[in-house]
Amino acid sequence: MTPTRKKRLLAVVLILIGVGIATAVFLTAFKENILFYKSPTEVLQGDYPKARNFRIGGMVKKGTINKSTTSLDVEFLVTDYAKDVKVQYTGLLPDLFRDDQGMIAIGQLDKNGVFQAEEILAKHDENYMPPEVAASMKEKTDAYDDNKVNN
């Protein structure tokens, strides 16, 4: 091999190693941090990631919010108008969290089938609904007011 070719080969090998490392780093970072979104129906069918965080979304079922008066614990049912899942959370709730509003919780399902939320997200704007929630709502009920989703 001529010196120039050697140099080129070295450059190519270095680039390949670099790309390889970058890809590996990307894939690990990615795999650990991707969160699946599930509706209550899917969760009750057992279709959710076990032993890792995922997101559950739907409406807060009317009249099911139960707040403790001695701690920051809160419990409620999240519904897609077909099935409900109980959610437990400790901490401050978002401003727009209330009955009959869309929300998304991040956490895991415990062995009693209760969703233990680490974080709760509600909408920012009362006209806005997370697209996933809107989509899973639409699948579940035709009665759902279209306007509310797209407004």
Partner: protein, 646 residues
């Protein structure tokens, strides 16, 4: 009547954009001087008409004309004047009109400050900007017209989203748009050069201050957005890797790469093609960001209320602009051959590394932002958590910080690594010592924070030494560069400390209760009801002491805006040089006056924004470098001479 005039000036602006897009270019291809000369007047006229259109919308808000649907939806009688004005850009339609108006500001500025360019160059650049305004004017006019009437007019409006009733929103969007839209200028310059088939260094030199200015605005807009999110959303975070935030960050990353590659391109006649590609990329990402924000395809905390028609329209514009630009690039790429040769060990290589790091980071952020969409196509719904972006970004920015000083100290074309290392050795030792001191002051610091602190010290010290080593050669461009790099150091330090040593606690507090957090005694005095301007507030009263000394009295609020029925959290912040105290109220928990309270301690968080502001100042300062203007003067003289001879 006024709304109709606004409508009319908007329509007329669209006609002017059409003329600006067509006439000068036609003149250029048919070598018709008169047609080429229409570019400047058309650019000014377009600006005047859109400014009038925009001011009319502002007036409609001030006078509370609820017969206009957009005004009715985003204002109401109780809204204070300052927010009535800012409500103009508080929702989709008006913010697009602001965007468009700013586009014409840039176009008019290019028309005004292009005396050093030849007639055909001016004609081409302005025509490309005209094509861009045409697309966006059509977008506003046909899909997002803010002047539409709704008859009969309601008595009262719907109110502005309470989150947007804030000083941050008054200034953040206009500045951010200056940056976003400003990216269209380097884009137009590049496309105009591709059309002409030639990019020489005067051309690139001329485009540099524009890129710097746009980048400076973009930087400031992002800083303001981050600051607003921090104090207004009440979550204590400063960056959420939300799609809307990423939308502003992507063009910034591309712009940063562009600024650095332009230096090589101007001075060394290398990477010409890469410069053009990055300019195309920067603007395309601005448009892509617009698409992501306006179409509502992605889950975002601050997505605009969306309409699929708008998404499709912006996507079409993106396809036309980016597709057309890339097509032209492919046709002309062979003419962009760079001549400047250089060795592996040179500043060129390091600046190339910079642009690669920033474009890879840009690509990674883009991937993380778009992945949910890709998955959705396969029927799976996912989201990508902030830790993905966080760890990705750390891995991209560490090599950046390590290499940055090398890039400043390496010579063009060819240099000896031993020489550079010798020159940098004192800085390296001081930086290591500095990081060690910080480590002992704040231990335990985790590994990421430690590395971050080292990176910050390294960049900071080498930038300081640069002033000493290169005394006498300090042009404004060099000053600007160093100011921006010191900003980078301060930013990295702030992020490292905030991200890794912050403290958060949610708790239930009864009146009279004291919480001790990192030596601060925080006493909750209770909550009282207040009526302020257009909202009611439950205002908490906290007294903070340290070692018996009063530090601050803090009054976080839970606001209630009756018109929309929305509650909103207004955090109380005690800002400081080395830490922020941050208290926000949740809700009342029991009838004994107990409230949910969130307390944060955010070390060095202001440094981050301070760093960002320095970066912006550096960008602007470098844009005022004499050589851009000296050259402009000479060219002006030359053009006048030529004219006189002819």
């Amino acid at each position: 009547m006024l709304a109709e005039i606004g409508q009319f000036t908007l329509a007329f602006g669209m006609m002017l954009a059409l003329l600006l897009a067509a006439l000068p270019l036609y003149g250029y291809f048919t070598k018709n001087d008169n047609l080429m000369h229409t570019a400047r007047p058309l650019a000014y006229l377009q600006f005047i008409f859109l400014l009038v259109s925009f001011l009319i919308l502002v007036t409609l808000f001030i006078t509370q004309d609820f017969s206009v649907a957009y005004v009715w939806r985003n204002s109401n009688l109780a809204l204070p004047l300052r927010y009535r004005i800012s409500a103009t850009w508080g929702a989709h339609e008006g913010s697009m009109l602001l965007w468009l108006m700013i586009q014409t500001v840039w176009t008019a500025a290019v028309a005004f400050y292009s005396k050093s360019l030849s007639r055909s160059q001016v004609a081409r650049v302005l025509a490309i900007l005209g094509i861009i305004s045409l697309g966006f004017t059509a977008f506003v006019f046909f899909t997002s017209n803010p002047f539409l009437r709704s008859i009969p007019a309601p008595f009262d409006g719907n109110d502005l989203n309470p989150l947007l009733q804030d000083v941050g929103l008054i200034i953040h969007p206009p500045i951010l748009y200056m940056g976003y839209v400003g990216m269209s200028v380097p884009f137009a310059i590049s496309i105009a050069a591709l059309l002409g088939g030639k990019i020489d260094e005067t051309w690139i030199r001329w485009s540099r201050p524009w890129t710097n200015a746009a980048w400076g605005f973009l930087t400031f807009g992002i800083v303001l957005g981050s600051w607003w999110a921090y104090y207004e959303l009440g979550w204590g975070g400063w960056w959420f890797w939300d799609p809307v935030e990423n939308a502003s960050f992507l063009p910034w990353l591309a712009g940063t790469a562009l600024i650095h590659v332009q230096a090589v391109s101007e001075k060394r006649n290398a990477f010409r093609g890469w410069t053009v590609l990055l300019a195309i990329l920067g603007f395309s990402l601005s448009v892509l960001g617009t698409f992501l924000v306006r179409s509502g395809v992605l889950t975002s905390v601050h997505a605009f209320a969306s309409d699929p028609k708008r998404g499709v329209f912006v996507l079409t514009l993106l396809a036309i602009y980016a597709g057309g630009a890339l097509f032209l690039y492919a046709l002309r790429a062979n003419k962009l051959k760079s001549q400047g040769g250089f060795q592996l060990s040179s500043r060129e290589t390091l600046l190339l590394a910079n642009s690669i790091i920033f474009s890879v980071a840009c690509f990674m952020v883009l991937l993380g932002t778009l992945f949910p969409l890709i998955f959705e196509a396969f029927g799976k719904k996912i989201s990508v958590g902030p830790p993905y972006f966080g760890s990705m970004f750390f891995m991209m920015m560490m090599p950046m910080a390590v290499l940055l000083p090398l890039g400043m100290y390496y010579r063009w074309q060819k240099d000896d690594i031993k020489r550079v290392m010798k020159q940098l050795m004192p800085s390296l030792i001081i930086a290591l010592a500095l990081s060690l001191i910080v480590w002992f002051m704040f231990k335990p610091l985790n590994i990421k924070a430690t590395m971050g602190v080292f990176g910050a010290s390294w960049v900071f010290i080498t930038a300081l030494f640069y002033f000493k080593e290169y005394k006498g050669k300090l042009t404004r461009a060099v000053w600007g560069m160093q100011i921006a790099h010191i900003g980078v150091a301060i930013y990295i330090f702030g992020v490292s400390m905030t991200e890794h040593t912050d403290f958060e606690i949610d708790s239930l507090m009864q009146p009279g209760e004291v919480k001790i957090v990192q030596g601060y005694e925080i006493e909750f005095k209770g909550v009282e009801q207040k009526q302020i301007e257009n909202y009611q507030a439950s205002q908490g009263h906290f007294v903070v002491r340290k070692d018996g000394q009063l530090i601050a009295e803090m009054n976080p609020q839970k606001r209630f805006y009756p018109r929309r029925g929305n509650p909103m959290t207004e955090a109380a912040i005690d800002p400081g040089f080395s830490r922020d105290l941050y208290i926000s109220l949740g809700e009342q928990i029991n009838d004994k006056g107990g409230w949910a309270v969130r307390i944060y301690i955010k070390p060095f968080i202001r440094w981050m924004w301070g760093g960002g502001i320095l970066m912006m100042l550096g960008g602007f300062w470098a844009a005022t470098d004499r050589r851009y203007f000296r050259h402009a003067k000479q060219m002006k003289q030359k053009n006048i001479d030529k004219y006189l001879e002819a």
